[in-house]
Symmetry: C2
Subunit: 235 residues, 2 copies
């Protein structure tokens, strides 16, 4: 298995080939939130770029979720905190989600054979779903075009699991990501609280989200993009 | 001290401010070679972008050095291997050097207050020269626009030394670089032989260069750009 790690939405390969399975990582918080939603029985998360697109998809079965500058969009049902996505709020419903970096990255990997959503919370499940793939792109979303420590650490955790299952051929970014994870294994929360976006979220009152998003491997969900909707993967 | 690490020549901050000291890192091999040259008594290394510019600066006191695709440019006196830059070849002389990634990065940080050349071999000396600075940019050159493991590890080593001397405020890339270094402390040669550019250089017969460039902290030289020439820094 060859594994590439791209660092931001802006530094994706120009064309993601259709022999590649892409895993989008926006750990604080979009992809963690998508995991939370599907784990809570949400039927699908529909990512869109702009709030107006979300509004256009609103109907009585759907909720609107998302953030701008990390804060819930006015008039939306939900923000971008995984703690809001519970059985009570999203069970049996669909959610239209618009976030800043995650959505852009999802669009950037649209040429891939499969597109999954990865995070720290579902890293082992994602690694299991990747078994047997030949070309894997771990696509870190980053934050506002910048490298994001928590996305990179999640890429490292997924690589850590993949390397335990099979031979892997890592790019330079893949080796660095694995080293980052290994340096902070079991204490990712500490890493997150020191990251640029992590500090920003703490200032905004979202410290509990960081704790949640930093818990390794405790959700068995693998969100997969099928016809524009993130749903539970079949494998 | 605030420390930022940029990952490639193409991802430098749009404008490097004049309160910043920049350290250019092109470990395999341009900045390692500049260190080797100055340590061997070379009077100055003059980096230029293109071989034709180097030719235009040729005169009887100067040597021309550089590579394209890692190989010595035809008609040049020296390639880009630090092992070629000895007292016998460059002592008392000037060298005009043209390399692919290092030169572009040097141009990109031209707005900085000071510009130094860093590598693994002189990391501790560079850290000492940075003492008391408030804004530091460790500018990894990368390879052909891509992230380079060895440049990132050298940034991590410099941060490792800086953090031992004073409080540091690290960007996300700075934290990841430090973790990478710590994972491979004392065995950077192993890291380099697995990197993308390292493997390429080994295929071309430059394995000894990798060993040389991976030796930590054994040269006391700090190359500094003064009026377009890399010379020994005063401090």
């Amino acid at each position: 298995m060859r594994i590439e790690v791209s660092l931001t939405a802006g530094s994706l390969p120009e064309r993601v080939e259709d022999d590649t399975t892409a895993v989008v990582l926006d750990v604080l918080r979009a992809t963690s939130t998508i995991c939370a939603a599907l784990a809570a029985g949400c039927r699908a998360v529909i990512p869109v770029a702009e709030p107006a697109q979300a509004e256009a998809l609103r109907h009585h079965h759907r909720l609107l979720g998302g953030e701008r500058d990390a804060v819930r969009i006015p008039g939306f049902d939900l923000g971008n905190s995984p703690l809001e996505y519970t059985v009570e709020t999203v069970g049996g419903r669909e959610v239209v989600l618009t976030t800043t970096n995650g959505t852009r990255t999802l669009l950037g990997v649209a040429g891939a054979r499969r597109v999954l959503a990865g995070a720290v919370v579902n890293a082992r499940a994602v690694a299991a779903a990747l078994r047997g793939e030949r070309e894997v792109l771990l696509a870190c979303a980053g934050t506002q075009g910048r490298f994001s420590l928590e996305d990179f650490a999640a890429a490292g955790l997924i690589i850590h699991h993949l390397a335990a299952m099979q031979p892997v051929l890592l790019s330079d970014t893949g080796r660095a990501a694995r080293a980052l994870y290994q340096a902070y294994a079991g204490r990712l929360a500490e890493l997150f609280t020191g990251s640029s976006h992590g500090r920003h979220l703490i200032e905004l009152g979202f410290a509990a989200d960081l704790e949640w998003c930093a818990r390794e491997d405790w959700l068995e969900v693998v969100p997969e993009m099928i016809a524009g909707r993130m749903v539970l993967a079949n494998n």
